[in-house]
Symmetry: D2
Subunit: 290 residues, 4 copies
């Protein structure tokens, strides 16, 4: 049973739109629409306990999860939403021990989520060029205690000749023009390694998909993910009137080798195969263009 003490992280939870994520510091207290909350009142409580504000409102003392850190990041900067984060992890099969490449650190929400899964034996190598964002991301990643599992690089992979990392299990791309880095990403991925790109527009999906075919990726899949809240109440259950129209589309693919096709199962075929392969490959490409 974990008790809250000085410096413990706490999500002061009133409801999903009114919640505050902080580390306990004895002397602090904060003023909200629902009343004043004194940190010291939380000390010694078990996570899950609640306080009553001086306005008689209950505030729950929750142990912050990755979700809470990500939703906290949300304030101010653009993030990848849990509905999308979750599918990325499930579709790419992200798991403990993997090496992840991220291009476009942004505010570090995707970085943190992925790091929390691949730790302790895995690592996230994330690249960005915006100093300001890199500082924000650094703060967000360390707040969720994951700095040890993330390396931030200030390097423009669109232009640089460097191949700073290789044999990555998964590459995550959050750029306006993801297709530009595909040939480079290919070099950094292991065989049959996965790519996931955050594509807010249909045009990005279209351009990226063509680049993925050109660069010998397979199992290419574009999806969108809609979350609908349901208000479950006795005799009155229905979907929420509020809803989100769109966050982003996602594009997934796996690295293949079109060239390295082996013999057919009959020895005869062997000689003819290679030629066949290349022509085949070409036509496939052409097909995807029309």
């Amino acid at each position: 049973m974990t008790k809250i003490k000085q410096n413990s992280p706490v999500l002061f939870f009133y409801n999903n739109s009114k919640k505050w994520l902080m580390n306990i510091s004895k002397k602090e207290s904060f003023h909200t629409h629902i009343g004043v909350i004194k940190h010291s009142d939380a000390i010694g409580k078990e996570y899950g306990s609640r306080l009553m504000t001086n306005k008689d409102k209950y505030v729950y003392l929750l142990e912050p999860t990755m979700y809470d850190y990500i939703m906290k990041i949300q304030h101010g900067t653009q993030i990848v939403y849990p509905k999308d984060l979750g599918y990325i992890a499930a579709r790419a099969g992200i798991k403990d021990g993997q090496k992840i490449l991220e291009i476009g650190t942004g505010s570090g929400s995707l970085t943190s989520f992925v790091a929390s899964i691949v730790k302790p034996r895995g690592h996230v190598y994330t690249f960005d060029v915006d100093e300001k964002f890199m500082k924000i991301a650094e703060k967000n990643i360390s707040r969720s205690g994951l700095s040890k599992y993330v390396t931030q690089h200030n390097l423009d992979l669109k232009t640089s000749k460097e191949i700073p990392v290789t044999e990555m299990d998964v590459a995550l791309i959050d750029l306006g023009d993801p297709w530009i880095v595909i040939p480079k990403v290919r070099k950094m991925l292991k065989g049959s390694g996965a790519i996931f790109a955050i594509c807010p527009t249909m045009n990005q999906l279209e351009k990226l998909t063509m680049a993925l075919v050109e660069n010998e990726f397979t199992d290419i899949e574009s999806t969108e993910h809609i979350i609908r809240n349901i208000e479950a109440r006795e005799g009155k259950t229905r979907h929420s009137f509020q809803g989100i129209g769109h966050t982003t589309y996602l594009c997934f693919a796996r690295k293949a080798f079109f060239g390295k096709t082996t013999a057919k199962t009959t020895t005869k075929a062997k000689t003819t195969t290679k030629a066949k392969t290349t022509t085949k490959a070409k036509t496939t490409r052409k097909k995807t263009k029309t």
Copy 2:
């Protein structure tokens, strides 16, 4: 660079509806609509390479991910789909090192997915009563190499008085009548620990939500998740004509303590608080009933 050898797991991938997950065994070969595939042809290749069948079709040799194992499980038994699995992980903040309780092992797809995230330091304790399913689950879990991180119990938590595990970080419930086990699950969860229940019907959401309020849970949220495939092709990008209507709804909540409310921020109030608390709690409950 990992080369495929005897016993290596391989996803023979033609497309998303034609794929075969197997461990390589030299002498084997299998017959499909797209031709004959000889395991031996895969040996020595790098993951991501492709073979050509005797019908001139390409088959990619992919390194199986958790996703591939789960979709493989799908054949025959009912599973929790990646779109839902992903949200469960993201919303509950499942991560390396956690202890997970699962009630209703089913075919072991949720079990395997969660185990792949909490390993190596975490563990999944899963309970079921159906011998047949437990065998299927055992096979599926070991196929994905996760047996070490999962303990299967043949115990009916609906009836048994036992509390076999405690201080769980997250509880996953896949039962027709999840509300029955809530008081018991509460005892097994740590403070502010999370619950996720798989609820295919609206009626389940409704009954479960009432049980969660009665049993002092907070941050209660019901959602559904819709995945839509997009066919991104030059000049012809649109959603896929095929779609899935429904898989399941999900219900999330976190364990709280309604009783343990502390003093208001003013000393005066102290004496009156407790009384207030209990009445408050009651009314909250009543409210949720109308």
Copy 3:
């Protein structure tokens, strides 16, 4: 070519959230965030022309459609949305010449929409008990010039013994407890006539469906309708970030006669048939209860 003159109805359109529906009256002018608009400036213009406000904003002079009248009604009162209205008309096959029964006039948006379709030879008989709403509806219906095709009744069909109309082609129900009026509605509908009920909650769908089976309706169908806006812009096409979570579910059915089953196609069977029918009917009912 229709020119705008004194008393012409005009939708002053700036964008979908800033638009004003009025009848032109020479001396009037109105002040908005986008500037001052003088009615007199519209006189003599063709519908579709635009004015410039004193703040250099363009305002289009559009000829109001049924849609515009319905969205105007929206302000203040709850309405049935075009996405739902449209499906009601399409699924029930509402068309010129039909007689429509409406229970729950509300603000008259559904009333007006349906009247605009069945006119000039059809008619809408609408029932409500709330004097205040009936006045609002009357105003809305006459504003869209449809009073001639609508008869408003102040009568509670839940309690009254009267059968004020019969042989209706379609019955539209917008009540909190639609199942109560089903036996009565049945008496007012023609054979195989259609019912449509506005059901904001899943519980209503459930209770109503059972009542429809009990009361010998067939082709029972519950649906929900999601509209998603798309922002089509060169190179940046995507769904809108804003969205609507939920408006209402819809329940459709057609009046049948379970009793009036005729002989099988073999003379022999004749005698046994009737018995068979009734038992069958019973079992069907029972089935739907479990």
Copy 4:
């Protein structure tokens, strides 16, 4: 009370996937998976009655609606679905008495639906170039008894210089490249008349939207419409597992006159206005291109 007689149209309804639309002809009978059905058994029955097949299955005798005719058309040819038809009618405010232009008759499902609403005083002028389809459409339109309200033209509006009709209230476009006919459609529409285009791909929405701006249309709106079936059963209510991924997107707009801008509300401004207008117009156009 309408009794079924020789030549009456009847929808023999078993369930939504097993139904047959026919005109009664005494001597006919048809064989189905659910048994033999003799037309003669229907004669003299009231619509809504049911027959029992020689396999003890009930078949309901329903009076066909526009919906039934459209779903019948579906077999074999591509149609516009009721969910989309309905929104077209509701958003464009289609009603009795209107003149409708349709480019791309296809199988005549949209044609028939719209004709059933604008009759008896309105009319549909529909254009196509495919002789084969025109014959199919003619058959479908006459089957639903609407020939009187529809004129079919074999004319290619993409190339022809003719302006065969003018002052249309609404224009419906179902072409692969709708943008090509926009300047022409503009000439056929009345001021502030509405356009609706059936656009299965996002690329069509994008190109069409640009053409609409270039051609002085306003209130431009792109939408998609998702219908979800709900299985409402006591204690087991949920969405259907089956679903439709995509049918088409829709693009709506209204004809405006960018040129005909009048003076500002202050006399002073008058002189400067026109200039301002044109530049404005230009910039608007430019904006939509980036």
